[in-house]
């Protein structure tokens, strides 16, 4: 039971890390290697709100989410659109955006170093035991999982229940065909890229309540997000959620039953298995 709950809590954390990248990669086709830095920026904002303003760290969402949305919109519009326009095919776009966002991630790290300094950012918020079926769990992790569930739920409903959501799904499946049925593909791509950035930054706020961050830590989250998005299937919200939960459960089970040192091995083994048997990801569509 402990394994199940701990695993689900960890899985929810992972889904917060990966959901934004899924939108950016799946729909806008931008393999954003600067995704982790956006998360760290959100975490810093929460840290600043909590320590300097002594307010609830979640209040940071009030300016972080719109801010990240606008910032990512601008990034897409002015830095990435030229690449999209220039690219002759998807492969070329991927190579170009990987290089561009890789460079961007260094720039972001540099900016955050200037703005926040290089030290560790950590604070205690809701670090109290919260009993579930008699055993204690960190309240901050439980709250994070609930927020993750809400964010994922809203995204799912929005993508599967609204007209814009349908357009986004159409772009995820085939940008060229989506353009033929009068969907404004550049606009939808920009929207999902911006939304992905906003979700990632929101994830950063939540994670900062229990993870210790510094300006250079973003790449760790990018890597985790990458694994989850590819495991779950590019451009599918359900896939990302399921893959996150599987990864969380597997890592916790291995850490408890086998050895905590084996968690990374278990995660990559799962990743390799998925790539071997379902290269398109758990929920991905086979490339036609």
């Amino acid at each position: 039971m402990d394994i199940l709950i701990t695993g689900l809590l960890l899985g929810a954390t992972y889904s917060l890390i990966a959901m934004g990248l899924n939108l950016q990669y799946g729909v806008a086709r931008i393999m954003n290697l600067a995704n982790g830095e956006m998360l760290v920026a959100g975490a810093f904002a929460a840290f600043w709100v909590y320590t300097a303003q002594s307010a609830n760290p979640f209040a940071a969402a009030l300016f972080v989410v719109p801010g990240a949305f606008v910032l990512n919109w601008l990034i897409y519009r002015y830095l990435l659109r030229p690449l999209v326009r220039r690219a002759k095919n998807r492969g070329m776009l991927e190579v170009d955006t990987i290089l561009a966002t890789f460079g961007m991630s260094f720039a972001f790290v540099g900016i955050m170093l200037l703005a926040f300094g290089g030290g560790y950012f950590t604070y205690s918020y809701l670090a109290e035991p919260f009993p579930i079926f008699g055993s204690p769990f960190g309240l901050n992790r439980v709250v994070a999982s609930l927020i993750a569930a809400v964010i994922c739920g809203l995204l799912y409903v929005w993508i599967h229940g609204t007209r814009t959501g349908m357009a986004i799904r159409a772009v995820a499946v085939d940008p060229a065909a989506a353009g033929l049925v009068a969907i404004d593909v550049p606009r939808m791509s920009a929207l999902s890229f911006a939304l992905g950035g906003a979700v990632t930054a929101a994830g950063g706020i939540v994670l900062s309540t229990f993870l210790t961050m510094d300006a250079s830590v973003g790449v760790v989250f990018t890597m985790k997000a990458l694994i989850i998005v590819i495991m779950g299937g590019v451009g599918d919200v359900r896939g990302t959620i399921i893959a996150s939960l599987i990864l969380g459960l597997a890592e916790t089970a291995v850490a408890t039953l086998v050895d905590p040192g084996m968690t990374l091995a278990a995660a990559y083994l799962l990743f390799v298995l998925v790539l071997l048997f379902r290269p398109q990801g758990l929920f991905g569509r086979r490339a036609s």
Partner: protein, 399 residues
Amino acid sequence: MRRRTALRLAAAAAVSSAFSIGTALGADPIRIGAVAPKTGPLAAGAAITHWPNVQLWAHQVNERGGLRMKDGSRRKVEIIEYDDRTNPGETIKAVERLATQDKVDFILAPYSTGLNVAAAPVYAKHGYPQITATSITDKIPELTKRYSSIFFALGSTTALAGSVADILSKLRAEKKIGNRVAMVNVADAFGIELAEVARPVLKKAGFEIVYDRSYPLGTQDLSPIVKGAKAANPDAFVAWSYPPDTFALTEQAKIENLDVKAFYTAVATAFPAYGGKFGKSVNGHLGAGGVNPDTPEMKAYFAAHQKVTGKPADFWASAVTYATLQVLEQSIEAVGTDRKAVTEHIKKGTFQTVMGPWRFSNQSIDKFWTVGQWQDGVFYGVASTGLSGAKPVITKTGW
């Protein structure tokens, strides 16, 4: 095109004016290179322990008019900084560059055990003294034998692990704790080496290791570890941990209410942020390092550190880092900028530092703090290899 030319001209003008300002000051400054992480996994640790001390030292030396050279002249110091991105290859390149391109007079030691060991051959090749303040290893005898320019000041792995066993033995002799120890370590060079040294030491001291696990660096959820340790019902908890996991393990132990009388986490326990984050519940926590903050030298050092850099010094390697800079300072003042003479002087001289008088024997300081403990908001040294001023150890009482 025209704009580009204008930019180039402006840049050239800026560079030349910078040079002319430098020469206008008269006596040439002593140029000192500094290589350490500003980005990458160890950047945060370096931002707490390493860089502020470089800043503080240069500020203080220049404020008093520079180093007082043998011939009576004063020479300021100029620091040339490089970011090695926590990558040993980059550290080596930067040291090489400082020695051959920038032709600096001295190069400060890099940050952390790994980066120092990686760069040691380059320092030796170019004949630059390398006074390390943040490397802990049992290989000190071999390394000092191989490289005549390397110095160690923070201690050895065995001493660090041995002191923990000593403290636990003492608490057991006083009937404050029992025999059961839960030990975890981060699966990285530092954690693995310490765990391997500690295992036989603890067993020899008669302790039973009831939980012994490692976890990968960067693990995002350590609750299975703490749950496992708790289930083993230990009297003492020892973690050979790195900063992010030191914070995470402590928070998780608090959530799980891990009820031990001795709680030890390694690196970062001495950071002011650790006490700041957990407040009163860290009272009695043991950790790597410690200082004696009550000496007049240390009091002045802590105050200056806060004033000049705007942040507090940590309670371990910060002061040691500053002390190594003082060693370099006093050697240059004694024998000038001849690197060979400085190296020889460091080997033989006695130095007045914030850590007290220092004398290297076989290129290493053999009196150093090994274990510290949070007591009423300050991280005091409670065990050392022959230093005075250690506080008596207390037991942890609840969270």
